[in-house]
């Protein structure tokens, strides 16, 4: 039950994890293009340890040092060539202008010298071609660098997942882990792909342009540079406010999505209790709130561009005026004015880009930090290979076992002895109890004290894989993966033949229903395996366990939402499975309990009583009370 709810929660938190950050996604998508800058801001997420995380992230780039150097130089060359462009273009224009000017004055030899203009233009075309080639090289190489780095990161996380103890999976929402592997790593990839080269380009462009401007005219440069602090001064408060509004928007969006999730998940209850109107009223309120926040955020971010453009144009006009005056005084050529104007236009772009890049990098480092957090999670205790356990006979003993999830102990000094082939019934509330038992037997969690022995060998001496190979599990909460039924059954045995698979299915009473499916054993279970019923899933897990043929079993008798016929089939399958194996059964059927060689009575996750049916009745404790309240006084038959 609990697992199932976690499942739902994961489903939801996953969809919301995606839902809460749509602006990140779409914002990033367009960051690369012209005009796609400035308007998109990433709400400020501050990393805790900027320097350390950055260093660690850079370590991932180290194996691609050569490519990075290539990218760097390609970016520099591409930018330098494109910066020289306007100056050369200006030369061509001056050449034309001079020619016209001479003929205008009626000087001999007037007219445009087209061979000179042509020469310059060929140079110009060459510059542009080289610039484009380098730009291509830079992006092409970076594509590999970024994606391969992301691949490495993901692979590290994948490998890490294998080493994490169950404790991690039980205490972290799946949605959160998923979001780190997908959204966060994705953000890192996009930043590597776009922002880093953008940063290099912007930096080179700014310095390059300033140099070119200074070469053309220091005075004009001063005018142009003056617009910079002005625009910074004007933009900063807008940026700040915009960040606040974006955060507001993000928050209300989260709130609204939460409400939608709840109301949809509880649709039936909402209807049954006549809460539709209230649900709608609350929705309308938050929706309106979101509209206001979103409108403000979008408006403010939409202002930034025009303001930048206006300040840019202001500089443009000033330069036109001043430049015009200079040209008439023959202090500057007409082509240089053209070049200068082009430079000022190119100038504002990287400036606003760098302003945004700071935010992006911050968000990226924060994302990297979340990924590294996952990578730094404590790993499972190293296993020792002191003993081997090929195939156990199935004698299990708990000696002075202490265990608890947190600080307190759920199990204190527990001692049990189970002979090979015996059945242990676990009785009591469902939930924590059965999970605890599985956790201990399979060594998903470490004991706090004492030891568990299998065939007399301390389980801590046995490699985990060998220990686990000796156990099978059939639980109510079935786990099947997206694949064919054949593959799912064969999951228990790596190179099972078809004949073995069919036999296991027959023993599990699953063969019949499988063969009634359109594709039989090759029917593909869809993503949430909803194309077969809950009971059928349970039959498949029984078949899987039969095929794996472990000497010890952990079973859950509970069969909820299963029809009687399937239930009978499941019970038959389980009975076959238990035969000749040491079995730990989460018991729901009285016959199992009474026949059991040992009954463990659990409450709130702790084992509070143990013994045979007779012993426990004589003890007159929790079990006796439970038994009498439940089964007696109602004479069956």
């Amino acid at each position: 039950m609990r697992d199932e709810q976690q499942e739902n929660r994961r489903e939801l938190s996953h969809s919301s994890a995606r839902g809460h950050r749509p602006f990140h996604h779409s914002g990033r998508r367009f960051r690369g293009g012209p005009g796609g800058h400035g308007a998109h801001l990433i709400a400020g997420e501050k990393p805790k340890d900027f320097k350390g995380t950055l260093k660690r992230l850079l370590r991932y780039l180290r194996p691609r040092k050569v490519q990075l150097i290539i990218t760097f130089f390609a970016a520099v060359f591409s930018t330098v060539f494109s910066i020289i462009g306007p100056k050369v273009m200006g030369m061509a224009i001056t050449e034309i202008f001079e020619g016209i000017y001479e003929s205008y004055r009626g000087l001999p030899g007037g007219g445009v010298d087209f061979s000179a203009v042509g020469q310059i233009l060929i140079w110009l075309a060459g510059l542009y071609i080289f610039s484009s080639i380098f730009s291509f090289v830079q992006q092409f190489v970076m594509a590999g660098v970024a994606q391969k780095t992301v691949y490495d990161l993901r692979e590290d996380v994948n490998k890490k997942l294998e080493k994490l103890p169950l404790k991690y999976f039980d205490s972290h929402a799946h949605g959160d882990t998923l979001s780190r592997v997908t959204n966060d790593i994705d953000l890192i990839g996009t930043t590597l792909q776009q922002s880093i080269t953008q940063f290099i380009t912007a930096f080179v462009t700014i310095t390059g342009i300033v140099i070119m401007m200074l070469v053309i005219s220091p005075v004009l440069t001063l005018i142009a540079i003056l617009t910079l602090p002005v625009s910074m001064y004007v933009i900063r408060p807008i940026l700040k406010r915009s960040q606040k509004y974006f955060a507001d928007q993000q928050r209300t969006l989260g709130k609204l999505n939460g409400h939608i999730e709840e109301m949809y998940t509880g649709h039936k209850v909402v209807k049954a209790f006549g809460h539709e109107k209230k649900a709608i009223a609350e929705f309308n309120e938050v929706n309106e709130e979101l509209y206001e926040a979103g409108r403000k955020a979008q408006f403010i971010s939409g202002i930034i561009m025009p303001v930048m453009v206006f300040i840019g144009n202001l500089g443009y006009v000033l330069i036109a005026v001043a430049g015009g005056i200079f040209v008439t005084k023959r202090m500057i050529t007409i082509g240089d004015i053209q070049a200068f104007i082009t430079y000022t236009k190119q100038f504002s772009h990287p400036v606003s880009q760098t302003a945004n890049i700071a935010n992006i990098i911050q968000a990226t480092i924060a994302a990297a930090e979340r990924v590294f957090e996952l990578l730094d999670e404590e790993e499972e205790v190293k296993e020792s290979k002191g003993a081997t356990l090929e195939r156990a006979k199935g004698a299990v003993s708990f000696r002075h076992v202490d265990f608890g999830y947190g600080d307190g102990l759920l199990i204190k000094d527990m001692n049990i002895e189970v002979e090979p082939g015996q059945t242990v019934a676990i009785v009591g509330p469902t939930g924590a109890g059965k999970t605890t038992l599985i956790n201990l037997l399979m060594r998903f969690y470490e004991l706090k004290g004492g030891a568990i022995f299998i065939d007399g060998v301390d389980t801590r001496q046995i490699p985990r894989s060998e220990l686990r190979r000796n156990f099978g599990m059939v639980l109510q909460d079935t786990w099947l993966f997206n694949g064919t039924i054949r593959e799912n059954i064969a999951y228990g045995k790596k190179d099972a033949t078809d004949e073995e698979i069919y036999r296991a299915a027959r023993l599990a009473c699953a063969d019949h229903f499988i063969r009634t499916l359109p594709d039989g054993y090759d029917t593909v279970l869809n993503e949430d395996a909803s194309n077969i019923s809950q009971g059928q899933k349970q039959l498949l897990t029984i078949a899987r366990a039969i095929l794996a043929d472990p000497p010890m079993m952990i079973l859950d008798e509970a069969t909820s939402s299963v029809d009687t016929r399937t239930e009978a089939a499941i019970q038959k399958g389980m009975a076959r499975l238990m035969k000749g194996r040491t079995s730990f059964v989460i018991a729901h059927r009285l016959s199992t309990i009474i026949d059991a060689d040992l009954i463990l009575v659990m409450n709130d996750g702790a084992i509070i009583e143990q013994g045979t049916h007779r012993e426990l009745l004589d003890k007159n404790g929790f079990y006796a009370e439970l038994y009498y309240s439940q089964f007696t006084g109602k004479n069956v038959g």
Binding site: G19, A92, I96, I100, G258, I280
Partner: protein, 575 residues
Amino acid sequence: MLKILRNLSVYKWTVAAVFVLIFLQSMADLFLPTLMADIIDNGVVVGDIPYILKVGSIMLIVTAFGAFAAVGASYFSSKVAMGLGRDLRRKVFHHVEAFSLQEFNKFGTASLITRTTNDITQIQHLVMMGLRMTLSAPLMLAGGIILAVAKDPKLTMVILFAMPVLIVFLVIIFMKGMPLFHKVQKKVDRLNLVLRENLTGVRVIRSFNREKEEQARLETANRELTDISIKVNKLLAFGMPLMMLIMNLTVVGVIWFGGFRIDGGHMQIGDLMAFIQYVMLIMFALLMASMMFVMIPRAAVSAKRIHEVLSMELSVMDEGTEKADKKRGTVEFENVTFRYPGAEEPVLSGISLSVGPGETTAIIGGTGTGKSTLVNLILRFYDVTEGTIRFNGVDIRTAPTEEIRRKIGYVPQKAVIFSGTVAENIRFGNENATDEEVQHAAKIAQAHDFISKMKDGYDTLIEQGGMNLSGGQKQRLSIARALVRKPDVYIFDDSFSALDFKTDAKLRAALKEETQDKAVIIVAQRVSTVVDADQIIVLEQGRIVGKGTHQELLETNEVYREIVKSQMAEEVSAS
């Protein structure tokens, strides 16, 4: 897509305002190079400084004007885009709230959630970008070409020659890129799926020692995604520099041919400079428009998904006005048959039964036998196909559905708990319940003890989805919620499954007291839950195959005996 965008009609004036403002802004942008040309030709060349200053101030006014237009456009466009998002969300949510179970289940919860949230955000974003960036593209394009032609029709030929080249390249890149984008999405989904399976199935994977194979699956999914991403990015790496190159070479062409035009006295040097600006404006406009094309396919999918929800017809149920209070605490089924629309076989057929006040009726049978459907019919989640259901002596179709539901205390199979305090959750059943009533309900539901142990007792906050509660605790809260309603009829739809035997027994004893003059309907799997019911109804394949007390049924009913046999051992009957 168009159907969804039709919702913009409310904003037609605002959209018109955006159009006008963007038009003004574009005109201002386009006007600048002309003025610039003026400054050069009539000011710089002649050396007329006052003229330069005069035109310069005009330029400033124009640019200020453009900026104001842009700010205005931003104001209105954010209003439109966010407004559309809000309206769509409201429309979808309202519509979904009106869904009956049948319509709801056609989509499924998770799908409806994404449709109401992410899909609408997608559309909202498209409209935002569309209004802000793409609207100006055709204006700039047309304006740029017109002005270029006005300056020098012959030189415009250069642009007209370059444009198709650019467009052809854009189209090629899109044709190549689109399928790749789709593939990337698929690979992302695949990686997500495998990862999720690994997270949820961690116990199974480890118990079968399949870590290595799962690692390999993850690695494959990861590598496939990486490979396809590299491909996409390499294609894009080809695209952008190429675009820039075409643009720059066009400028080179303009200067070369412009030189001849100037030399021939057909145009002036300032015009050439203005021309260069036009080329840049036009080409940027084209690039901008191409951005839109990247978004459209994705948004179109979203639009289709939203439209599916909105176009789902509601199975409108006629509601009567009668008050349902003739025979309180009774439910009667008279020859009821029900089949889902379009289904061949009825789920329930010929059901007749009656439940009176103070009686407990248990319904037992396997899944697929129609137990839950039977209960859903009382709540009027569906309408009967044939026959009549009378609630409190009134045909449920002649009374308002709200009135019927108000008199039912329903506890669903799967406990649904909302975020909020414990008390709020219980009050979900009855907003006007006093603190005493809430506590009383909790006590009967055996929830008081664990609530009292919680940090803030009844004011303890429950997380979304009840994460901080166990299954049994949620079920007990959900029972308290039904109790506080003080209804005439209680319906427990297999609601005790997460409770241990002891709590189950205690709860049922307490319930007995509370429900003395009410009717209680219990849907159950466990025989132990139904043994002391006044009436047990055995369902098989949608028909009643047995009716009576536990004892009666044991003696006479084969199906019931089989159910009992499968659950309880003979030893007990012997002892």
